[in-house]
């Protein structure tokens, strides 16, 4: 490790870094704007100047940009040198010449990187007394606000949007003191990663439009570390509340998972928590007054428990605590997953693979670092957005690494590296049913039916390991493509294979495993990543319970069934016909959920459940990482409670043995891991509820939190006692331990002098590295070196059938989420329902774009307009999955068109 001298003190620093990274990693305060740990340096803003000296004798030194100089052994520099500090304060002064004096009305105020740096450099008096330039702002859509006058021309936005995220519709225009960052004209930003502009931009040019609707300063929020609920990746987020409303979501850095960035669904899709459609009152239906209090509810529940057969339907979006509490209540044999058989089968395959220890499953960070990626079947752009962003980084960075191996240019030197790399790209093969935005960075693409994609996978596996069976009757095209892909995978050191469940096809999972396992035998570290459907799909699958079909059978067997359905709208999870069949064979239906939906309509007893923001809960993401999501606020309405609390209370009706003590979430996890060895270690995913730091709790509120004594004065003029959180070490106050908290408990990023999110530097071991104390969460599946058992079971080639189509779901980043569409700006970008066929199929059937086509799925008829799909293989019918109000269909089944209306 090189030693450098900073203001005459020796420090050991990591080689290969630049001076800015080195200084920040050492915990020094050095201002910067244009450098970003995930995007490297361009030396554009001149804010990070330091002085370097030739040697010990040199007293004059020279000013350099610290972000543009490599660390060298023996290098001497000064951060505090007078010329350097003056230089920096002059830089901020001219960056500020045109900056409006509008902090009080700027949404960035209080969490502003520009404020931080302005104060840090000591620029506090404006000498510029001329007219400031003003711009016209643009309408950038419902999610991101634009206020160009605040720009300081650091170029971070375009570098992020175009270079990092691959967006095309944001750019820089003009020159000199009138450069402009925006779109070519007003319009909705096209990238689903646009929300990160809010955090990337050091000023208030780009801000969160959803927050604007109920604006609160960062210091006034009650925050907690939470986990995103909108897909299986489990991105870490910080959620903030005020006045009983969830106000915003910002990124919570986790180097292994989401790093610095979220997708727009995760960032903006939180409004369901505040929805008018929330279930707020326990209801017992079909009686005079349906709304009941807790005592009546419990009384009623105890009559439902005795003499009835209990069936529990779990949920892939509810926490493990709640799922386990339900299982505990109804008994393991009466607990069902609430998803169809086909999906359970595929997920079980995935769980078996992960728990077998035969293969490594990579984190998102490892996917970013992969040097070849093969995507087999999964439309990750729509089903796992931040994974698509990670794959993009792998493609771009692999090219950069290859190129810079030959020249002495460090990887952080972004502009230079880009110049060198030009259009070169790392290897990505995107083998999916339909076209995807990832295609443009793919070396190889294929559009085929899932079985054919799986066959391609098996063909690759056979080339990699000739002892595996050859794919019978493979076409020449498939052979050649398999050959090219296997060659690229063989050349890589860390190849990653990605697949998932969204094609509802288990052959894809088996083929992906065979490829990864075959690669792994050749001394490389191959990774196999799975994408699941919901935020706790894997956690639920790991409980290894039966499918919904089994629940129907068992309900049909008994005449006296009480079904308890946990946070699961069955009409979205299973074909509507099956949901109907189930309901008609149950005597009593008890539903716990957060929002009214078609399943809650069928409930005889409806119990209001807390959302993730009002609950503690543990979720297992796609890489089997169990992560704790902490309660952000307690609902003012005491009838809204965490499902596991309701369920434990209901359970206590059954036994007399209980001592009335409510179980804490960590105790539930302990019970879970003692029952199921596959969850071993899960109770370590966050510190227990009684954890204290030097005897103190960790405050959810900043020390600047305002209004505590008065904000409830309309209800009671005396200041209320702060709420007591018995379930976690976090407190509902401003008091408590303010030092570094254990990483799963960091409620927000703040450090002295750094009010903005840039303060995350202070929480990391090194800039862009892991959090001090390690990343939150516990991985439940690790490779153990077990010899893999190959699948070898190759499906037949897909053949289109006469007048029948294979029904597949199309997931939409904006639209397919049950919860995220409660955010207006997401709903407005959701497509209208449609039925898609290939052009050829449509022509053969004599159908035109827009014709109303009726299709029967599982006994129900659906009429939707036809949308002809350019890249869809023949023989497949594509229908959007999970749009608001749409039923789930029998995905993976065969359907025909019954009628057509032109």
């Amino acid at each position: 490790m090189p030693t450098i001298y900073i203001d005459n003190k020796a420090f050991e620093v990591k080689a290969g870094k630049n001076l800015l990274e080195a200084c920040l990693s050492l915990g020094l305060d050095l201002p910067y704007f244009c450098w970003h740990p995930a995007m490297g340096s361009v030396g554009a803003c001149r804010q990070c100047a330091v002085k370097v000296f030739k040697d010990e004798e040199d007293t004059r030194g020279r000013i350099v940009m610290s972000c543009m100089e490599s660390v060298k052994d023996g290098l001497r520099l000064s951060v505090n040198d007078k010329t350097a500090t003056t230089f920096r304060s002059q830089v901020i002064e001219w960056l500020m010449t045109n900056h409006p004096h509008d902090c009080p009305v700027c949404d960035e105020g209080g969490c502003c990187h520009l404020q931080d740096v302005t104060v840090m450099t000591g620029h506090n008096y404006r000498r510029y007394e001329y007219k400031k330039r003003t711009y016209t702002n643009q309408y950038l859509g419902p999610l991101v606000n634009h206020e160009m006058n605040r720009c300081i021309q650091c170029y971070r936005c375009v570098r992020y949007y175009r270079d990092y995220a691959g967006g095309k519709d944001l750019n820089v225009f003009s020159a000199h003191n009138h450069v402009y960052f925006g779109r070519e004209k007003d319009g909705v930003l096209q990238s689903p990663f646009s929300g990160n502009l809010v955090e990337v931009c050091p000023t208030g040019v780009f801000t969160d439009k959803t927050l604007k609707e109920h604006y609160t300063r960062k210091w006034d929020l009650t925050n907690a570390p939470a986990v995103c609920q909108h897909c299986s990746l489990g991105c870490n987020v910080i959620a903030g509340e005020r006045y009983g409303q969830l106000r915003n979501i910002v990124n919570r850095y986790n180097s292994e998972v989401n790093g610095y960035f979220l997708c727009d669904k995760g960032r903006f899709g939180y409004e369901f928590v505040n929805s008018e459609n929330r279930v707020t009152q326990p209801l017992i239906r079909k009686r005079q007054s349906e709304a009941v209090n807790r005592a009546t509810l419990m009384q009623h529940m105890s009559t439902l428990l005795s003499g009835h057969t209990l069936i529990g339907i779990g949920s892939p979006r509810a926490s493990l605590e709640s799922n386990y509490a339900l299982m505990d209540l109804v008994g393991k044999e009466n607990f069902y997953q609430g998803i169809p058989d086909d999906l359970v089968y595929i997920e079980q395959k995935i769980v078996d693979i992960l728990l077998s220890g035969a293969i490594h499953t990579p984190s998102l960070k490892e996917i970013e670092q992969a040097d070849a990626v093969l995507i087999l079947g999964e439309d990750i752009w729509n089903t796992a957005p931040v994974m698509a962003l990670a794959v993009r980084q792998s493609v771009m960075k692999t090219a950069a690494t290859h190129t810079t191996e030959q020249v002495a240019i460090p990887l952080w030197h972004d502009m230079a590296v880009r110049e060198l790399v030009q259009d070169a790209k790392g290897f990505l093969a995107n083998m999916t049913v339909t076209a995807s935005p990832l295609d443009e960075i793919s070396a190889s693409t294929m559009r085929a039916a899932p079985d054919d994609l799986a066959r391609l996978g098996f063909a690759i596996a056979h080339i990699l390991n000739p002892s595996l069976p050859e794919v019978p009757d493979a076409t020449d095209a498939v052979r050649t493509q398999a050959m090219n892909i296997s060659r690229a995978l063989q050349q890589a050191k860390h190849p990653v294979i990605i697949t998932g469940t969204s094609c509802w096809n288990n052959a894809l999972v088996r083929a992906a495993f065979d490829i990864a396992a075959a690669l792994d035998l050749t001394e490389k570290r191959a990774g196999l990543a799975f994408v699941m459907q919901d935020c706790n799909s894997l956690g639920l699958a790991m409980m290894r319970s039966s499918s919904f079909e089994k629940a129907i059978t068992s309900a049909e067997r008994s005449s006296n069934v009480t079904a308890i359905i946990l946070e699961n709208d069955l009409y979205r999870s299973v074909p509507a016909g099956q949901a109907d069949a189930f309901f008609s064979s149950c005597k009593n239906v008890v539903v716990l959920d957060t929002l009214h939906n078609r399943t809650t309509e069928r409930a005889d007893v409806l119990i209001p459940a807390a959302t993730f923001a009002e609950a503690d809960g543990t979720f297992v993401n796609n890489e089997a990482r169990a992560q704790c999501s902490s309660q952000v606020f307690m609902p003012a309405n005491s009838e809204v409670r965490e499902s596991f609390k309701w369920l434990s209370e209901i359970r206590s009706l059954k036994t007399t043995a209980g001592n009335g003590h409510e179980k804490h979430p960590d105790e539930i996890l302990q019970a879970l891991e003692s029952k199921f060895p596959q969850f071993k270690g899960i109770s370590r995913s966050a510190p227990p509820h009684d954890f204290r730091f030097h005897g103190a709790r960790i405050p959810r509120e900043s020390h600047r939190y305002s209004g505590r004594t008065a904000m409830q004065a309309n209800i009671d003029v005396s200041e209320p006692k702060p709420l007591q959180d018995d379930d976690s070490p976090l407190s509902y106050t401003m008091e408590g331990y303010r030092g570094p908290a254990p990483s799963p408990l960091i409620p927000f990023f703040w450090a002295p002098g750094w009010n903005s999110g840039q303060s995350v530097n202070k929480f990391q071991l090194e800039t862009g590295g892991s959090l001090k104390g390690g990343e939150p969460g516990v991985r439940l599946a690790e490779q153990t070196g077990v010899t893999p058992v190959f699948s070898r079971d190759i499906p037949d080639a897909f053949t289109a059938r006469q007048d029948k189509w294979l029904l597949l779901p199309q997931y939409h980043l904006f639209g397919s989420g049950e919860l995220s569409v409660y955010t207006e700006g997401i709903a407005s970008q959701s497509p209208a329902p449609y039925i898609s066929l290939s052009r050829h199929d449509a022509e053969r059937a004599g159908l035109k774009e827009g014709d109303i086509v009726t299709v029967k799925s599982d006994g129900k008829a659906y009429s939707l307009p036809l949308s002809i799909h350019g890249s869809l293989p023949d023989g497949i019918m594509l229908v959007p999955a999970g749009l608001r109000g749409m039923d789930s269909w029998s995905w993976g089944g065969w359907v025909n068109i019954s009628t057509v209306k032109v």
């Binding site: 095309k168 519709d169 750019n171 225009f173 003009s174 020159a175 000199h176 402009y180 779109r183 070519e184």
Partner: protein, 161 residues
């Protein structure tokens, strides 16, 4: 739309660059387009250039807005591009600009009613030794004085008749 002849010229320019790098031809093609379509680049013209080079319009706007030699608004027949950078300023470019403004009764960026003259200010044109100076069409006019400006204006008017 370019004439056949100009289209050939565009092809020739594109051919100077490696395959797939046709974006490199952007600046010369924009010059050509400006010359061809009334001395300025409308957004339609820029979109047309984008389609010729098979790039997105936003990439053309990025470049066209950056350079002061591309006019994004209609201009007069004769465009005075007066340098206002340090050396020219020290040698009196401010006065020259003021003089032109008064004489033609227009502000910077404006065009005379008769459509003959546009006044623009630009940054250093690399002729500091001859400051103050301006660019007029393809030529530099140097060591400017009010008298010289008068003469230039007369000369332009004469050409117009």
């Amino acid at each position: 739309m370019f004439s056949e002849e100009k289209l050939n010229k565009v092809k020739e320019i594109i051919a100077r660059y490696p395959q797939g790098k046709q974006k490199s031809a952007l600046i010369p093609v924009l010059h050509l387009a400006q010359e061809e379509f009334g001395g300025w680049l409308s957004s339609e013209t820029m979109d047309y250039v984008a389609s010729l080079l098979q790039i997105t319009s936003i990439e053309v706007y990025e470049v066209a807005t950056f350079y002061s030699m591309f006019n994004l608004q209609p201009v007069g027949k004769h465009v005075f591009e007066v340098c206002q950078t340090g050396p020219c300023m020290l040698r009196g470019s401010d006065q020259i600009i003021d003089y032109i403004k008064k004489k033609l009764d227009i502000g910077v960026g404006e065009t005379t009613k008769d459509g003959l003259f546009t006044l623009k200010t630009v940054e250093c044109l690399g002729a500091c030794g001859y400051a103050p100076m301006m660019q007029l069409g393809k030529h530099y006019r140097e060591h400017l004085t009010p008298e010289k400006v008068d003469a230039i204006i007369e000369e332009c008017r004469a050409k117009a008749n």
